[in-house]
Symmetry: C2
Subunit: 320 residues, 2 copies
């Protein structure tokens, strides 16, 4: 199967002469110019059974995560969530399922004061949950993939790798006990949103993305768009402590953190003169922030381990 980005680029990227479209296909959100209200940021994302979640997942969790993955895109642009629509495809419309799904979805929507403005439901041969989310961002505060600067610090919120661990355990590649499995599940499906933090972060940060495809893949998007390279110090990666309690090898945890994906944490770059502002914001929102490297001239991502340097363009971290 062609990769998502190849697909998008090859068949679905077209030039537009519509001047109100300030940013189109290729960032976390599109940006529509709404004059004095700023930009309306628009994103859409889908959860499919068997691909984005395991069969049998509880519907509350699915409702929550269907919306979370979309607000994560809004957060990465610095946009304040406002509205969303829902397209629900279901094998059958069991009332218990719908009630719990709506509960999960509105739990997050209410927390963010978002309004469900429309949608559709239909029958299908596989369950699929597609949400489109919208929010506003001031024109000078949108955080774009293309805005990283040479010398910027590379930062990430939270911890990394637990969602990938959950997927590994679902496929039987690693054994978790019940309590580990519950923790991994919740980190993979019920993660916190970073919206409030991101909206303030955009005061001094111009470049961000959310980690859905894995730290390395998403950092590569920033590098490509910003025409820069990046150097990551692997010792500074916030590998989730759960992973260390399950599997002791250092390489295992680093691989999940670098390539696992599904973290829905914010990856951003910031001028080092704002290091203190960042520390204060992290404390204010109680959001862990790790400085994991910096943007440099070049084209590839370099992984630094002590005094050793490795090219990070591979698909796994097997050099250690």
């Amino acid at each position: 199967m062609l990769g998502e980005f190849d697909l998008i680029h090859r068949y679905f990227t077209k030039e537009t002469d519509n001047k109100s479209v300030s940013l189109s296909v290729g960032d976390d959100c599109a940006l529509i110019d709404c004059n004095e209200r700023g930009y309306l940021a628009i994103t859409t994302d889908t959860l499919n059974e068997g691909i984005h979640y395991f069969k049998g997942e509880d519907p509350y969790t699915l409702g929550y995560k269907s919306l979370l993955v979309n607000v994560s895109d809004l957060a990465s642009m610095g946009a304040k969530p406002e509205y969303f629509t829902l397209s629900l495809t279901l094998k059958e419309a069991a009332e218990d399922f719908l009630k719990a799904f709506a509960d999960g979805m509105f739990t997050l929507a209410d927390e963010l004061d978002m309004t469900l403005i429309g949608g559709n439901t239909s029958k299908g041969s596989a369950d699929s949950f597609s949400i489109e989310a919208m929010g506003y961002v001031a024109k000078d505060r949108a955080m774009l993939r293309a805005n990283a600067r040479d010398g910027d610090l590379i930062c990430v919120t939270g911890t990394l790798g637990a969602p990938a661990l959950f997927v590994e355990s679902g496929y039987g590649k690693i054994a978790l006990n019940d309590s580990q499995r519950l923790i991994a599940h919740n980190k993979a499906m019920l993660m916190p949103n970073r919206c409030a933090f991101a909206c303030e972060l955009s005061e001094f940060v111009r470049c961000a993305i959310d980690i859905s495809d894995g730290l390395m893949g998403d950092l590569k998007h920033i590098c490509d768009r910003s025409n820069l390279a990046a150097c990551i110090d692997v010792d500074t990666l916030p590998v989730d402590p759960l992973i260390k309690s399950v599997e002791k090898t250092r390489e295992y945890g680093l691989n999940l953190a670098l390539f696992g994906g599904g973290d829905y944490e914010l990856l951003f770059t910031v001028d080092k003169k704002y290091a203190d502002d960042l520390k204060a914001l992290s404390a204010k929102h109680n959001v862990q922030v790790s400085i994991i490297g910096k943007m440099i001239k070049g084209t590839d991502i370099v992984l630094k381990d002590g005094e050793s340097m490795f090219n990070g363009s591979g698909r796994a971290f097997e050099h250690f």
Copy 2:
């Protein structure tokens, strides 16, 4: 399975205190207040394999229709199409399929000068195409289901019933020859859009809906929202001529036209003082318009056949 409207109402309708949401769940589009730009009308609709189209349908047609069903909702609000996003779920990403799908989708998008602003592609166990479309309408020109007035003429564009005939043939309920099948297919899948007509129609029409669920079902939405009833003169229904060439009984054609659905024609109500304007607009856009009845006081839809009157609340037209 609960009906779509029951579902939406029971679990997905919530009050909002967001003052920019001028119209939420329950019309063809949501309306977001964009100050001097008017309302941003937003709609979303999905095509699922085996439900909204037959397996083996060609991808050009799927691309075209995925967008068409959404712009039909914009047209029914009087909104000029501007932007759309695409969520593509595919069993496999065959390049031929994607190329043809994009061709079909952009054929319509280019005709309407719409911009694809974002989307996502993912793997799934069944193909599903979900589009969200957006467009602007001046605040005093939105055509709402709730705006019908007692005495308004009820009008419909185009002809009715051919898409339902195509579905009947797909299920083997009626036999079509090759040429009939091609005509029915194109009327069911590649119907024209009514956007340009609708944008001008909104100069003197305040109430419209598009026919997706069948004339009777969609007219019922207008009646319910406007607290009125309707009287339809069945002899004035624009039953598609293809149906008469296939099956001679009058009842068969009337049933498809009244209950079939999938027509994506505009159903609207208009003060009779605008009859001449309507005739001129119909001629200007070369869009057939039939006056099929009028809005009356009451709660039910009455079907009039010559001197006989029938309650139209049944699920089929079996009285003739």
